[in-house]
């Protein structure tokens, strides 16, 4: 009955340790809430944090023994470990800023943390997926959890709008991805990335490059949606603006990083033989993403919406690194996503605290005179915004530097020029917030935000350190990225 069945080895289980821990953690959280009752909700956030730290440890342990797992479904290499650690850190920071927000909105619940953990599990799968089936499942786990999180405060109309928009458009985009996967299977007879690569580059196989390009294009629709790259960026501002602030913080960093991780992996392994076909399309997309993001952000008065457009713009910069299609490009994208995660979470942490109950103070003008009320926080905000601009000594600077360097190395001169011009434009809207904070008189409406809660404070410190470290000593992270950037084909 059990002929030639070899059960998975212990090391294979260790390679999926973070996923296991996250799943178990999420489940335990939900059960614990049921058992402990409503009164013990304060313990939920620390519990979620504990599981995330465990998973972080798990990811490190898994990373120490690289290799494939479960019939090559996953491959745990440096690249996977990098992104697993990144999304888990984003998860930790998001949970830190969520506690006080949820208490303020009277919406503390285990479901929230469980969904964050599940979503991270999906992203962790994405980071290590080596098979299009796993890509699809991972993407869906991550997305479905975030759809729900985006509409977490169900009595808030903005939340509902965000959730329904994200859900409908997201499902549509995923359908395209799945269709592309189906076609790829039809053409190559496999869904394993390496085997697709082997098939497409082997001289013996007969296939139509046109058909494969169509698959790549359909999968691009799915991925571009998830990373909010043009022309599929339309949902991003509405969703990031409408979702609860800590969820927006989470969504702009973790799912995006994971989607980029898998985007890069699929295109640089499976479709690497067809570079000349997809590169021009991605070129246009990268350019359009940067331009749309930055120019739309110029006109925003709502701080969340502005940060949303800025997130689109930053996706454009990462797209430049994707277009570069080189190891340096991969490393640059990794570095950029890490630094963006820190600076963006830092900025969102402050927004989360500042907007107040019911997210009333979301206008940029509401920030007037903030520097006088909370000089330290304002200084930190300035620091994050400067990093988002890309001022030297911040993580953002080196991120942009490496991205454009990799682009120049791949002879993408025009894209680089456009990117640099865009960064200059972007400086305007980030600086505007700084000007409002430091040089405008506070109005009666503002200043509602009280002392900063401990969780937010921790998250701020963590993000600030992250931005600082990446800005001053980028070499450690970059070296790791460079070493992991060589994806095994």
């Amino acid at each position: 009955m059990l002929v030639n069945f070899t059960p998975p080895s212990a090391s294979e289980y260790i390679r999926v340790l973070p996923e296991i821990l996250l799943t178990v953690g999420g489940t335990i959280l939900m059960i614990a809430e049921g058992l402990a009752g409503e009164r013990h909700r304060r313990g939920l956030a620390p519990m979620a944090l504990a599981f995330l730290l465990l998973a972080l440890g798990g990811a490190v342990v898994a990373g120490m023994d690289p290799g494939p797992a479960f019939n090559n479904m996953l491959t745990v290499d440096g690249y996977a470990t990098f992104f697993r650690l990144l999304v888990l850190i984003v998860g930790i920071l998001s949970v830190l800023i969520s506690g006080s927000y949820l208490t303020r909105e009277n919406a503390d619940s285990a479901d929230y943390y469980a969904l964050i953990l599940f979503s991270l599990c999906g992203q962790s799968i994405l980071a290590s997926a080596n098979e299009l089936i796993m890509v699809f499942i991972g993407l869906e786990i991550s997305s479905i959890a975030t759809y729900v999180l985006a509409g977490f405060l169900r009595n808030d109309k903005r939340n509902n709008e965000a959730a329904i928009k994200y859900f409908l458009l997201g499902s549509f985009a995923t359908a395209f991805l799945l269709y592309g996967v189906g076609w790829i299977y039809g053409v190559t007879g496999t869904t394993n990335l390496q085997e697709i690569h082997r098939f497409l580059t082997s001289s013996e196989s007969v296939y139509s490059p046109l058909l494969v390009s169509a698959c790549a294009a359909m999968m691009f629709v799915g991925f571009a949606f998830k990373v909010s790259a043009a022309p599929f960026q339309g949902w991003a501002p509405d969703v990031y603006q409408g979702a609860p602030a800590p969820v927006s913080a989470f969504m702009t960093a973790a799912p995006k990083a994971a989607a980029f991780a898998v985007f890069l992996r699929v295109y640089s392994i499976a479709f690497s033989g067809l570079t000349e076909r997809w590169q021009p399309i991605l070129w246009v997309s990268a350019m359009a993403t940067m331009v749309i993001g930055n120019f739309a952000a110029l006109r925003q008065d709502n701080i969340k919406r502005m940060l949303a457009y800025s997130s689109v713009a930053h996706a454009g910069y990462v797209m430049v690194a994707v277009v570069a299609h080189s190891e340096a490009g991969v490393a640059a994208a990794m570095f950029y996503l890490a630094s963006y995660a820190f600076m963006n979470l830092g900025a969102f942490a402050i927004v989360t605290h500042y907007v107040g109950k019911g997210e009333r103070y979301v206008g940029i003008d509401d920030m007037a005179g903030y520097a006088r009320q909370q000089p330290l926080i304002a200084a930190l905000f300035t620091w994050f915004l400067l990093s988002l601009i890309g001022v030297p000594l911040t993580g953002g600077f080196f991120g942009k530097f490496y991205v454009f360097k990799s682009a120049i190395d791949s002879n993408l001169i025009w894209l680089t020029v456009l990117g640099l011009l865009n960064s200059a434009v972007a400086a305007y809207y980030y600086l505007r917030i700084i000007v409002v904070m430091y040089f405008h008189e506070p109005t009666n409406e503002t200043g509602a935000a009280g002392p900063v809660p401990a969780g937010v404070r921790l998250a701020l410190i963590g993000s600030a350190i992250g931005v600082f470290v990446l800005g001053v000593m980028p070499s450690a992270v970059l070296e790791f990225a460079n070493r992991s950037a060589m994806l095994s084909r």
């Binding site: 799943t23 479901d111 969904l115 796993m134 499942i137």
Partner: protein
């Protein structure tokens, strides 16, 4: 010969049902047309000697999902919806776009030589282990991880929908 006739019957059911699904005004009739379409697909599976898929298609899609669809349609008052315009104002644009994309796909498939492939030959009748056994082997050995992880996907979907449906305190 008989197979060919059956193929066209099922194909007709599938496509006709699908068209009726989007053109019927009453939600109930749309859902029923969808059932017809799904039945057609089930029949196509059967023609390909995929009995397991055939049965599962019927049990899950028609017996499970579509019955719940009907359940919801009966619970919700859709009279208002039936009176609204059925297609939004951009239907012409949508039609043009889908015809264009469709034509593009046909052109592409044609130039890739897919359309002129020989007709699909149904798999030979299974000798030895049937296709359920083969399917089980694949699912529980090679694709063990996706199979297990898919359950997490379902769990997330359940948690999400319960959360959305829960009464607000």
């Amino acid at each position: 010969m008989l197979d060919t006739i059956f193929f066209y019957v099922f194909a007709l059911l599938t496509i006709g049902g699908a068209i009726a699904t989007i053109t019927r005004r009453s939600a109930m009739h749309s859902a029923l047309s969808l059932i017809v379409s799904l039945l057609g697909v089930a029949g196509l599976y059967l023609l390909q000697k995929a009995e397991f898929l055939f049965a599962v298609q019927i049990v899950l899609y028609i017996g499970g999902i579509m019955v719940l669809f009907l359940f919801v349609i009966m619970l919700v008052n859709l009279d208002q919806a039936a009176k609204e315009r059925q297609f939004n104002r951009q239907w012409l644009l949508g039609l043009v776009a889908s015809v264009l994309v469709g034509a593009q796909m046909v052109w592409m498939l044609n130039s890739a030589g897919v359309l002129s492939l020989p007709a699909a030959v149904p798999a030979p009748a299974a000798t030895g282990p049937g296709n359920i056994e083969a399917l089980a082997d694949l699912l529980f050995r090679e694709y063990l991880l996706p199979f297990e992880v898919a359950s997490l996907l379902l769990l997330v979907a359940i948690v999400g929908s319960v959360m959305m449906a829960k009464k607000t305190s």
